[in-house]
Amino acid sequence: MNQNIEIIVDGQTYEAEENSLLIDLLIKHEIKVPYFCYHESLGADGNCRMCMVEIVGQKRPQIACDTLIKPGMEVHSKGEKIDTVRTNILELELINHPVDCPTCDQAGECSLQDFYMDYGLHTSKINVQEKVTHAKHVDLGANVMLDQERCVLCARCTRFTDKITHSHELGIIGRGDDARVSTMPGRPLSNPYAMNVVDLCPVGALTSKDFRFHQRVWFLKSAEAICQGCSTGCNIYIDHNKPKYRDDTVYRFRPRRNDAVNGFFICDDGRLSYKALEENRQRQTLLEGQEIETDAACSHLKALVQQHQGNITVIIDANLYTEEITALLVYAETIKAEVTAPLEFYNDANFEDDLLKSAQCAANYQSVLDLNLSTQAPDKKGLIINFNYPEQFHADTVVSFNTHQGAQASLIFPIASYSENSGTLTNKDGLEQFSKKAVTKNSPSPTILEWLERLKQ
């Protein structure tokens, strides 16, 4: 077991594990160090040479990503000498870069741009005509587009397919400044986690076909949320924006680091599940297909409850937040209804893999199990009040609270989706996680809790 020791960085003492990587310490303590190729999930590769630091006693600057912390080590992470080295290497990094930031989707979240502002700010010494040119629009497959000219050859993407997915689709071909990322002919990028290479790419070489050219990233606001694709509960950012004259819209999901759950990544199914959020939304309150006032709808439901006393089933969807499920249990008790939370629809053994995907395809699956709710199909056929469970059941009267269209019910209430609402979810390992509200629509649908308040009146 390695001991904790003290080292000095820029005159300050830090505690670190002996033989751990210096760059990890710098990152942890937010000591500014530029780097492209290092990534905590992929380890050191040492090819970009940007993370140069000065180590007292060593003749030459060393890369922090390949330096092990030793007792008594003294490091200078800044200063004229180091800044010059970084500036010179960055200049080489940019020498064949097309500098097409105005049309590049990465602009605003690009390491190359950031480092240029920190260490560059030089005028280009090479004519545009003299730059090495490569392919600018390569469709790698799996929604990933490659611009070989923008690439800094950090090899994060190729190492991802080698070390994480073990699918080996990406490689670097060619030597010297002719080197470029590529796939083999007839073997496109195709694995369930492929789009993570877009996040890994520090520059605009790999962009998402799904997201590119839809929004400038500096307009996006991010909410810390939980993916609802399955019960793994991957942490995500919901990136959304309300462009002028338009409604607040989700543009993409991005993985949010949580070492206890998903590490740095999410699956492509989860990443693209934001699309279904916006499509076919239930926005109107409907009685037998006709729009009615919400007050009238509430009165109608109350009357139905009176009418079917003792013959009511409340169906709870396993994607609802724990707060909502708890409130619904109280509501069901008030109206003396039976409660069931069917799970059958959410079991999908084909979805499961040994990375992140779980066979339990509902976000709060574990809560339903923890609360010992019945998961049987409803047996009372008087009144069914279905809170967003996607399967349809037959009864004398069906009332449905839905985020999306498609329910067969005589009375339908629209509810807020998870991106428009916040709450707690319990993942398959029993970890409780809070998902924050991201989107505020121009005319928002009430949440379940809000509807229940109204039904009390």
Binding site: G46, D66, L92, I95, K125
Partner: protein, 407 residues
């Protein structure tokens, strides 16, 4: 006076010495019996005492490298012979594998005995197709004659990348991956081939082993200097009367060597410059060449390096800007592209020099070349970029006026 030494080249002049029968007539494989007198550790000790230095260019002590090999490892050890001779100006290893391949095989067997290896790979330059056939035939002959009962020798052809001569890139290539140099280990340790401890040595280093085992460390030390003992297959190309490979001991004067074996400069012209040990060593001027001796220390003190001992001799008619351009084109083509300074620096330097050569450059471009060289020096995984850097700097130090008149 030049002393004749034939440690590696003893059978070069004998006709058909590449065949087993002729080679055996002249003593091939005699040391196999002799080495049984020693334990593996004693063998390593002999090599250490002989002061044998790696002959692939670096000149690191071979014995120390051998001593890193574990003697009681669960994983069996591997010997890899580096025959990826791609350094411009260097053509000594091919003499060994075509003229006396059994010497190499004998050396491999002795080395494998010392490091307890059962598998040996010879990584041979892809372009050496004809020479590879000779070596393969010799391996087959040795196999038939029963010399390879305990050891498998596999010949592996490279695919033409210069960088695969760097030992860790060579191992990556041998493992079937892209030839990219590996990050250096933090403490002295052997190389690794598929997780097996591995020794990588140059052809000539291994071919020197039989002599040392046969005659002892002192006999080897009788040649050369204190710090650079033994001999090297020095080679000459360029503007000399008799270009070729001639074995000589370390420490002889460069001019003596060029005059004695090379017959002096071609057509009676004056010497202008020498690239002393393969393209990656800094060029030295005629004046420096007059003073220098052929050993690691003397050339290092001149800011150059002995490298592989493959001298490129240039007479007074040579345009040094064109020579550098030629070299930079090579480096631009051959940089593996892993580290940023090398990947982008070689290309940019080549472009800049192209401008200068076409009389479209400025003195700022010359300074820029030096700046690029500075960024390339000591900031990469392997020594490719520092070598290019030293080449650029040496040309601009020794012959700056030739560059100045072009801008």
């Amino acid at each position: 006076m030049m002393r004749t030494c034939q440690i590696v080249s003893q059978k070069f002049a004998i006709e058909d010495a590449h065949t087993l029968s002729i080679a055996q007539e002249h003593g091939a494989y005699d040391t196999l019996a002799k080495c049984q007198e020693f334990t593996p550790l004693e063998m390593i000790q002999i090599i250490k005492e002989s002061g044998l230095r790696g002959k692939g260019g670096g000149g690191a002590p071979a014995g120390a490298k051998w001593a890193l090999m574990p003697q009681d490892s669960e994983q069996s050890s591997v010997l890899v012979v580096n025959c990826d001779e791609s350094e411009p100006g260097t053509f000594k290893d091919r003499q060994i594998i075509t003229k006396d391949p059994h010497l190499l095989i004998e050396g491999i067997l002795l080395t494998c005995y010392a490091i307890k290896a059962q598998d040996a790979y010879v990584y041979i330059r892809g372009e050496y197709f004809q020479f590879q056939k000779v070596l393969q035939r010799a391996i087959d002959e040795a196999e038939e004659a029963g010399f390879l009962k305990n050891i498998n020798i596999t010949l592996h052809r490279g695919a033409g990348a210069y960088i695969c001569g760097e030992k860790s890139a060579l191992l990556e290539s041998l493992e079937g991956k892209r030839g990219h140099p590996r990050l250096k280990p933090k403490q002295p340790e052997p190389e690794w081939y598929f997780g097996q401890p591995t020794l990588v040595n140059n052809v000539e280093t291994i071919a020197s082993v039989p002599f040392i085992i046969q005659n002892g460390a002192e006999a080897y030390r009788a040649f050369g200097t204190e710090k650079s003992p033994g001999t090297l297959l020095f080679a000459m190309s360029g503007h000399v009367q008799n270009p070729g490979v001639y074995e000589a001991e370390f420490g002889v004067s460069m001019m003596d060597y060029i005059n004695h074996y090379g017959g002096g400069i071609k057509n009676g012209k004056a010497l202008k410059a020498v690239i002393p040990g393969g393209a990656s060593t800094g060029v030295i001027t005629a004046k420096e060449a007059e003073e220098v001796t052929l050993d690691y220390e003397a050339l290092r003190s001149m800011g150059s390096a002995l490298g592989t001992g493959g001298m490129i001799v240039m007479d007074e008619s040579t345009c040094m800007v064109s020579v550098l351009k030629n070299l930079l084109e090579f480096y631009h083509e051959e940089s593996c592209g892993q580290c940023t300074p090398c990947r982008e620096g070689t290309g940019w330097a080549n472009t800049l020099l192209g401008k200068i050569l076409n009389k479209r450059g400025s003195s700022a471009d010359i300074n820029q070349l030096l700046e690029i060289a500075d960024t390339m020096n000591g900031k990469t995984i392997c020594v490719f970029a520092p070598a290019v850097s030293s080449v650029i700097v040496s040309f601009l130090t020794g012959f700056r006026d030739e560059f100045e008149v072009m801008v």
